[in-house]
């Protein structure tokens, strides 16, 4: 299995193409089995991954345009491995819980294509390949929102597409400039990200390039003030769309931050810590407050996603192994938790065709099992210890504490404000008496929903109690990343701010 990564990337796409000839009746089983095989393949990847080796593994190189140094170059390390597993896992779980009736075939095929692009983004190590998958991922999502969405779906889909597309074009310019500078410096064309990592640029170049990359990634994250596409996209997307959007697509942005600008421009990253942190803080506090004001359950969760992504960005810019490991882990946990929350909202939407909190109340009486899972997930989202989110949030904030005391306190308000909006959501819809007649006879979770959701609950708790199998490979890669950045940094401040592991710190 030398080509496991290529298989992972292209298997869903080929299966999706074949899906066109599968009959309508068996398409669900077909989609499920493809997603399951893909997930098993990614598990296989995980188990044969050497967690103690920090560099890239399962590397595949195939020249595409040799004269410009563009290669089909894949590989995973501890940072990307789990996001790949997350993508396949969420696709599988989403497929299990899929409740779409209309054009099921098209939906499943788009999901499989989406899976290809997601995996592709996380495993590609060539900037052009990365960019291609990055942009391709927009297309199935555009289709999913536009075809199965709510009333404003066209507006939302186009906004989503154009906004993120505009951002990535800026990133593309950054990539081209980077390639040009690489050519100037070495005389060779190369789009390999690992090669780019080795290029040391003067600080002012770094800053401009950093900004170019950052804007592209920030829109995807989405950072304040580029976040407004997200509530629309979530508000209008069908459940499965929201799940994948929140769980995986947003992670592309933060993953990109760790993979591209940080190791490429360590000095600029340090230089930009302050503005980025301010944006993240605004994002954390402001969107948490906005989330509190929402009337629609899904919007609350959409805004809460933004707020949590702020913590992830903050952790990334902690520039120490604790923070970056934490933020990568938080990406995973946020993927699982927010995915589950969107799925939960989808459950009630399927039954009542509304998501307004004022329409509910007392659901815990009617749907106790649903209420339980929602409760667990709300608590996980709030960041209670022994759930996945706590590990990520704790490490991210702990890491950033080294950078700034005050800003961490401000960022820490996310644990308060998170509790405020999440608990009031839970209170408004689940507590109290059942007031609406329509709500009195709602069905509790059915088999496929329970199965999907309990899986997510299990993962949340398992990795909250015993995060080691995931945390260790991440940490290994992150530690080598941080010490690499430390070595590469040219300015004095950057050397000081980027703190590799304690042992190395003392050795100096």
């Amino acid at each position: 299995m030398d080509h496991i990564l290529s298989v992972l990337v292209f298997f869903p796409a080929i299966a999706g193409l074949l899906g066109f000839v599968v009959s309508k009746e068996s398409i669900r089983a077909y989609g499920l089995s493809v997603a399951a095989i893909e997930f098993l393949l990614s598990l296989w990847l995980w188990f044969s991954f050497d967690g103690s080796y920090p560099g890239f593994q399962f590397v595949e190189v195939l020249p595409l345009i040799p004269s410009f140094g563009i290669n089909y170059y894949l590989g995973v390390d501890g940072i990307s491995l789990f996001i790949v597993v997350l993508s396949t896992f969420i696709t599988l779980v989403g497929m299990i819980a899929l409740s779409v009736e209309k054009d099921l075939k098209n939906m499943i095929i788009s999901l499989l294509f989406l899976e290809m692009t997601m995996v592709g983004v996380f495993v590609s190590l060539d900037a052009i390949v990365f960019y291609v998958f990055w942009e391709l991922s927009l297309v199935p999502m555009l289709y999913i929102i536009g075809a199965w969405g709510g009333n404003l779906r066209i507006y939302a889909a186009i906004k989503f597409f154009l906004y993120t597309f505009a951002g990535s074009l800026i990133m593309l310019v950054g990539m081209l400039v980077m390639a040009y500078l690489y050519h100037e410096a070495t005389g060779v064309w190369s789009f390999s990200i690992t090669e780019w990592h080795r290029l040391i640029l003067p600080e002012n170049y770094q800053i401009w390039l950093f900004i170019a990359f950052f804007i592209g990634l920030a829109i995807k994250v989405p950072m304040f003030p580029f976040h407004t596409w997200l509530p629309y996209a979530h508000g209008q997307a069908p459940t499965i769309g929201s799940v994948i959007l929140a769980a995986v697509l947003l992670k592309m942005g933060t993953y990109g931050l760790v993979r591209l600008p940080l190791p490429m421009f360590p000095d600029a990253s340090v230089y930009m810590i302050f503005p980025v942190a301010i944006l993240s803080l605004i994002m954390i506090i402001y969107t948490a407050m906005v989330a509190y004001a929402q009337e629609d359950m899904k919007q609350v969760i959409a805004y809460s996603s933004i707020s949590h992504m702020g913590v992830i960005v903050l952790g990334t810019f902690a520039m120490n192994p604790e923070g970056i490991t934490g933020s990568v882990f938080f990406m995973l946990s946020h993927g699982i938790v927010s995915g589950a929350l969107f799925m939960l909202v989808g459950v009630i939407y399927d039954r009542r065709h509304t998501k307004l909190m004022s329409e509910f109340g007392g659901l815990a009486h009617v749907m106790p099992r649903y209420g339980t899972i929602m409760g667990i997930m709300v608590m996980a989202s709030v960041g209670l210890p022994l759930t996945m989110s706590f590990v990520g949030e704790f490490l991210s904030l702990a890491g950033f504490y080294q950078v700034s005391h005050t800003m961490t306190i401000l960022a820490g308000t996310s644990i308060i404000l998170g509790a405020v909006y999440m608990l009031s959501l839970y209170k408004k819809s689940f507590f109290g008496e059942v007031t609406k007649e329509e709500n009195k006879n709602l069905k509790d979770l059915d088999g496929k929903e329970s199965m999907a959701l309990w899986t997510l609950v299990l993962v949340t708790v398992w990795l909250g109690v015993y995060p080691k199998p995931v945390l260790e490979p991440i940490n290994t890669s992150v530690e080598s990343l941080v010490s690499f950045m430390h070595k590469k940094a040219i300015t004095k401040e950057a050397k000081e701010v980027i703190k590799p592991k304690v042992i190395e710190r003392e050795a100096e």
């Binding site: 906004k159 003030p225 042992i503």
Partner: protein, 618 residues
């Protein structure tokens, strides 16, 4: 010993998970019995551990690594030393009693199974809290008890007030938890570890300012959990939960976690007198402040809740003046008699169909003799009359305050002791004696189940005799906590005891005299002081008016005005500008070939101009 440790820790978890299996099924007595049995097992293990560590040994185990990232290593490590063993004993004793009691109390509730699941989960979290050997583990328990408290306060979630109170409690605790989290970060980045032993070893070499920060932030955490001013409002509202919950969580165990934290971190606190003084002062303030609110309240459970607050204040004074073992001792005795008091109140509520207004009761002694006796024992113990448990611990606190020259604190506590005695007996008098007002409202009180009373008996016994274990307690605890001999003369010592006893007895006497005559007149209720106290110094209103509402309002402004009208509108503006420019320039696309050809000509002209004047090839 490891086996006992794990048994003590995980037995409640097993019970909780077992009960959770039946959570949405109708009442099943097995859940109650199973969880109680498992708690009993846990209690036995705790007692074994207590006896084991009584002679200065420690049990320290590491279950596994939890988080390992960068230099941060957090194991699931558990330590049982004398402090922990005491706490474990308190927690398991009270919770075993409460479990058995709840079988009777929750008899008719349809969510019987769910109740036991949460109750046992709470005990597990509390055990994690007290047994962890590092700050992160403590934080797990800390949040865990918060979660269980949320679920149990909001147990009757169909009531708006209950779910509101649950959220209030959780959010207030979260505010404090942030402080604690920051404290933990500070510890990690400066001490390089979160293990208690590693941290406490390095205290001597650390900067004073840093230690002040650490202790201050940790204390913010403690303030939330122990409901100290200004985060105290949730405790009174938490009385919406079932009464056994109030007994276990909001009297005996969870709220004392803050005190436990200060005691546990005593190596830190003992080197920063500034923060310690603040702790003591806040404690004294809260003691008096809460007692004053308890004086006039009409709600049975709220009175006891305020008294809990007040007693927590006492504990903080003890911890603040450096008498950590006294704080722990008072924590223990208080747990027994306060739990007893709450369970007694539970009996009363049960008898009165969940009526809480003490002015609608009275003369219940005839119908509920045993409850009356138990509650009186608890009240006497609370008032601190010799030879009940409260006397020993409370007197020690006063003595410690006096001996460390904190005369102001002493005076406050002394007055509070009088107030405590007064309101405890006001409660007893109004509920159990005097006119039988309940008849007007048509209640038919009855005594609680026999086994519930039996379940309360151990607590009653402990409330009476716990004080006599003072010396063996000191002997045991001195292995881990500093036990200082206060150098005060015998004369002062006895004077203090007499003065304190006098004011306590005076308080009791006044209450008995006043309320046997029918209580205060109506006029008193119209005075400003009464109104102020009755409305809890208007603090909940202030919070509501100046924090909750503006927050909601601001959120709405952020959403409707800022997010939709400015941020999003800017984006849309850019989009519409481009769109409109398209609309404007579509005139060019008139569809008239001739016009288009002319435009082409213009383009050609421009290109030619560019070619001539900006040619790259010269």
């Amino acid at each position: 010993m490891e086996t006992y440790l794990y048994t003590a820790l995980f037995a409640p978890l097993v019970g909780s998970l077992f009960a959770a299996l039946f959570a949405d099924k109708p009442k099943n007595l097995v859940t109650g019995i199973a969880t109680s049995t498992l708690l009993f097992v846990s209690w036995i293990s705790s007692v074994v551990l207590l006896l084991h560590v009584a002679h200065g040994e420690e049990v320290h185990v590491k279950l596994m690594d939890w988080i390992h990232a960068g230099g941060l290593v957090i194991p699931f490590g558990f330590i049982v030393d004398q402090v922990t063993a005491t706490m474990m004993f308190v927690v398991t004793t009270v919770s075993a009693v409460v479990h058995v009691y709840s079988i009777g109390y929750m008899d008719h509730d349809k969510s019987f199974n769910r109740f036991f699941a949460w109750l046992s989960a709470f005990v597990f979290s509390m055990m994690v809290l007290v047994m962890s050997d590092n700050f992160a583990g403590l934080f797990i328990g800390w949040e865990g008890v918060g979660l269980c408290s949320w679920a149990l306060i909001g147990f009757w979630y169909h009531k708006e007030s209950a779910s509101w109170a649950a959220n209030e409690a959780f959010i207030m605790n979260r505010i404090a938890d942030l402080g604690m989290l920051i404290g933990i970060f500070l510890i990690y980045w400066n001490f390089g570890s979160l293990q208690y032993d590693v941290v406490f070893e390095q205290v001597a070499d650390k900067d004073h300012g840093l230690l002040m920060m650490v202790t201050a932030f940790l204390f913010i955490g403690a303030m939330g959990k122990s409901a100290q001013f200004p985060l105290h409002t949730w405790l009174a509202d938490a009385m919406e939960g079932p009464t056994p919950v109030s007994a276990l969580i909001h009297a005996a165990t969870m709220v004392t976690a803050g005190v436990y934290l200060v005691i546990r971190a005593n190596p830190l606190y003992s080197v920063v007198p500034e923060v310690s003084l603040f702790v003591a002062s806040l404690g004294a303030f809260v003691a008096m402040f809460a007692a004053s609110m308890a004086l006039v309240n009409r709600d049975l459970k709220r009175i006891i809740a305020y008294s809990t607050l007040s007693q927590l204040g006492y504990m903080f004074v003890a911890a603040g003046v450096g008498a950590y073992w006294v704080a722990l001792f008072h924590l223990m005795t208080h747990a027994f008699f306060k739990a007893l008091l709450f369970l007694g109140a539970g009996n009363v509520m049960h008898a009165m169909d969940d009526e809480l207004d003490i002015f609608k009761m009275g003369g219940l002694a005839k119908k509920m003799q045993w409850t009356m006796i138990l509650m009186t024992i608890a009240s006497v113990a609370l008032a601190g009359i010799y030879p009940f448990a409260g006397f020993f611990s409370k007197d020690k606190i006063l003595e410690a305050a006096f001996a460390t020259d904190h005369y102001v604190l002493w005076t406050i506590l002394w007055i509070t002791a009088g107030l405590t005695a007064f309101y405890s007996f006001r409660l007893v008098m109004l509920v159990f004696f005097g006119e039988e007002r309940y008849k007007i409202f048509g209640y038919h009180p009855h005594e609680a189940y026999r086994f519930m009373l039996w379940a309360m008996a151990p607590l009653a016994v402990l409330a009476v005799i716990a004080g006599f274990f003072e010396h063996s307690f000191v002997h045991m605890i001195e292995h881990v906590l500093p036990v200082e001999e206060h150098h005060i003369s015998t004369f002062t010592f006895w004077t203090l005891i007499i003065v304190t006893q006098a004011i306590a007895l005076g308080g009791i006497g006044f209450a008995v005299w006043k309320y046997s005559k029918g209580g205060f007149s109506k006029k008193w209720e119209e005075t400003f002081i009464y109104q102020l106290l009755f409305n809890q110094y208007y603090i909940p209103k202030i919070y509501d008016e100046y924090i909750c509402k503006p927050y909601g309002e601001l959120s709405r402004i952020f959403w409707k005005d800022l997010d939709l009208k400015i941020v999003d509108a800017t984006v849309d503006f850019i989009a519409t500008t481009i769109y409109k420019s398209g609309m404007v320039s579509r005139v060019v696309q008139s569809g008239n070939l001739s016009n288009m050809l002319r435009w082409m000509g213009v383009g050609l002209l421009i290109l030619l101009l560019a070619a001539i004047f900006y040619s790259p090839v010269r």
